[in-house]
Amino acid sequence: MLDFSRTWVPYIYLYGVGGGIFLIGMFIILRSRSLKLERVRHKEWYKILIFGFFYYMGIHGLFTFAAIGETVFAALIGLIMIAMTANLIFTLFKKPKGVG
């Protein structure tokens, strides 16, 4: 049986420190108006950026649960991720509504 420090501490560190870096990045691009939420295309990019963060959290969560034999949780995360990915592909392949 693997203890918590082996299974989840690296995960918490990764998404704690990495999440902090990600949030600072989001703050800077919004504050500097490099990402303008009033633009349709930029709003899509905003959603994709948030999606990507949770997508990777999902992948690492899924494999951690699968490794320790918690298959129900792993399958649940897998299903959520499939739905999220389908949504992403739809967003990327949609015709652009504007420029910039």
């Binding site: 560190y13 691009i29 990327l92």
Partner: protein
């Protein structure tokens, strides 16, 4: 020492046949190099899907197959960490660095440093970036040598010499377009062959259930143990790879930046980057690591077939040899590793040429025609290949490729990464502060490496001190902090640069960068792309003319930028040009263009053009 793997002549026929195919491919696309702009940036014309596949081949270097297979065999699924921690910096890349490099039309990363600071900082950045890229090329060549060593049984450096000559030929003559198209093909080949190894390996051990059941829960965890062992731990690799490596690859890999600059627009570059990180990197990590997992499963399920004397860096070759069961398939897999090598190395050699020509040669030898610079670029490409091959001697001193690469990232990337970051995002970051980052940072890094128990240990997160290779990975955290600290302290103590000097060069003035790119205020009115027949007519130089109705459909005004491409989307923009809307005419569905643009875009008479407003 592991034994030499026996091969027949047909194996080598396939390997050399593959190399010949790649050489031919590169030579074919050399005809698209008319200027240095084409040689380095491919005329900024390609679609996102073409760029993203070629990025796969660049990112999944040959070192990836060997080094991740070795770590996967030793430590399990946590070998995937390196490929799965790139998202944290995506906001800053997609909406910071990418639009800045694209809109400011910089020729190289050092070029950015001169515009943002001064020529002195450019020199420091040039030295740092050349060191980074030459090191990367060396690791690529070393990998290829180690891949072929158990097959050939001849001296490692002889193999490297031969591989360097073959790689050098096609990059020297092909340029960036050859690199992109060769990488496109190789991206598909290496993903296919990596998955093939996985499927054949699962089959070899008796099915997925046996494979999964044979591996321990700890082996299957996606993240390594937090702080031990010293040669592979989560926190060290997070700072070495997740931070220094990821930022280094995304922000200061001149080869990758040039690839994004070959996209037809910033938005296409963003799509390429996102698709790569979200879809292709998770696939790629399985592609490069699975031989190690399979090797471990084989060593447990059928220990009699596993050669226990196999060196870690030879795990991939050993597994591929065992599971393919046919020499043809084995040759194909080895050719894919060769593909990965060439794809990484060709990009970097082209990038080294770009930096040398634009940052060293052009400022010294001015006012020559473009053909002269193109010729020198080719000579530099050949020289970079030779220097890269020689540098393998240094990296061969490390126990595994993974550790060589880890040390390289921890040491080479921090000063440049910090300077780029502070330069883009912090307006107070001045020229003296940039000097402090490079020089002060380098001195403190050197002191840290000399006295690691005093300076690096406060940041070690409990990682054991290994006197032979002290803090291989976590030193990246110390190095990044001292470089950032030097820059921030001097930045706070000196006068900030004026707003005018920084216009378009920081994330705070991107609208100015777009204006600079276009030459006038951007037009963000929504519009659609359309298909039009083309007719050669006399237009103003650099202009194309559409009907009033068509311009309305595209939401375009006279003076806006337009992108014209062959209607066949699968060409990915190979036949295309950028131009400017001229005065409109009255023929709907027709575009008037000059003979010069027809030749530049290689347009076919029978094909319509897809037109799209850019800015």
């Amino acid at each position: 020492m592991d034994s030499v793997i026996q091969t027949s002549p047909s194996f080598w026929v396939i390997i050399f046949g593959y190399f010949a195919l790649v050489l031919g491919f590169g030579s074919f696309f050399a005809r698209y190099n008319k200027t240095t702009q084409d040689f380095f940036f491919s005329g900024r014309r390609f679609s996102w899907w073409l760029i993203t596949m070629s990025i796969v081949a660049t990112g999944v270097g040959s070192h990836s197959f060997l080094k991740y297979s070795a770590k996967a065999y030793e430590h399990g699924f946590s070998s995937t960490m390196t490929y799965m921690n790139d998202w944290f910096f995506m906001p800053l890349f997609l909406f910071g660095w990418l639009p800045i490099v694209y809109y400011t039309k910089i020729r190289s990363i050092p070029d950015y440093f001169e515009r943002r600071f001064n020529p002195g900082v450019r020199i420091l950045a040039t030295v740092a970036i050349l060191g980074y890229m030459i090191g990367y090329i060396a690791i690529g060549f070393l990998t290829m040598g180690k891949t072929l060593e158990p097959l050939l049984g001849i001296d490692l450096y002889t193999i490297i010499f031969i591989v360097a000559i073959i790689s050098g030929i096609y990059i020297t003559f092909g340029g960036q377009t050859a690199v992109i198209f060769t990488d496109l093909a190789q991206g598909f080949i290496l993903i296919f062959s990596g998955i093939l190894v996985f499927i054949l390996g699962i089959n070899y051990v008796g099915g997925f259930d046996i494979f999964w059941g044979a591996l321990s829960p700890e082996f299957k965890l996606p993240l390594a143990n937090f702080n031990h062992p010293a040669n592979f731990n989560f926190v060290g690799i997070f700072w070495q790879d997740g931070v220094a490596g990821s930022v280094g690859f995304l922000f200061m890999n001149q080869g990758l930046i040039m690839r994004f600059m070959a996209c037809k627009s910033v938005n296409e570059g963003r799509k390429a980057a996102v698709f790569n990180v979200l879809v292709l990197l998770p696939i790629s990590t399985v592609v490069v690591s699975n031989a190690g997992w399979i090797g471990k499963a084989i060593s447990i399920v059928t220990p009699e077939s596993w050669n226990t004397a196999t060196q870690l860096d030879h795990v991939f070759t050993q597994v591929a040899y065992l599971i393919t069961g046919s020499e043809v398939v084995f040759a194909f897999v080895i050719a894919a590793v060769a593909a990965a090598l060439m794809s990484t190395v060709d990009t970097l050699i082209n990038a080294v040429a770009a930096v040398v020509i634009n940052d060293i040669y052009r400022p010294i030898v001015k006012d020559k025609d473009d053909k002269h610079y193109l010729k020198v670029a080719m000579i530099v490409s050949a020289g970079a290949t030779a220097v890269g091959a020689l540098s393998t001697i240094f990296f061969n001193n490390f126990p595994t490729l993974y550790e060589a690469h880890g040390f390289f990232h921890s040491t080479m990337t921090p000063p440049l990464v910090v300077a780029i970051f502070l330069g883009i995002f912090w307006k107070r970051y001045s020229t003296p502060a940039a000097f402090a980052t490079f020089l002060g940072g380098a001195i403190l890094m050197w002191i840290g490496s000399k006295y690691p128990q005093i300076f690096i240990s406060p940041f070690d997160h409990g990682i054991e001190f290994n006197p032979d290779r002290p803090y291989s990975y976590i030193r990246a955290l110390y190095n990044t902090l001292v470089c950032a600290g030097s820059g921030v302290i001097v930045g706070l103590l000196t006068t900030p640069p004026s707003e005018e000097k920084m216009e378009g060069l920081t994330v705070w003035s991107l609208d100015k960068a777009r204006e600079f790119f276009k030459g006038s205020a951007p037009n963000d009115r929504p519009g659609k792309s359309l298909l039009a027949k083309w007719i050669v007519k006399d237009c103003e130089e650099g202009e194309v003319r559409f009907s009033i109705g068509d311009m309305e459909t595209m939401g375009a005004d006279v003076g806006d930028l337009v992108y014209l491409a062959d209607e066949r989307k699968w060409l990915g923009g190979l036949k295309s040009v950028h131009s400017v809307y001229g005065e409109p005419h009255k023929e709907d569905g027709v575009v008037y263009i000059t003979q010069f643009d027809v030749e530049r875009g290689l347009f076919d008479e029978k094909r319509k053009l897809m037109a799209e407003k850019e800015l």
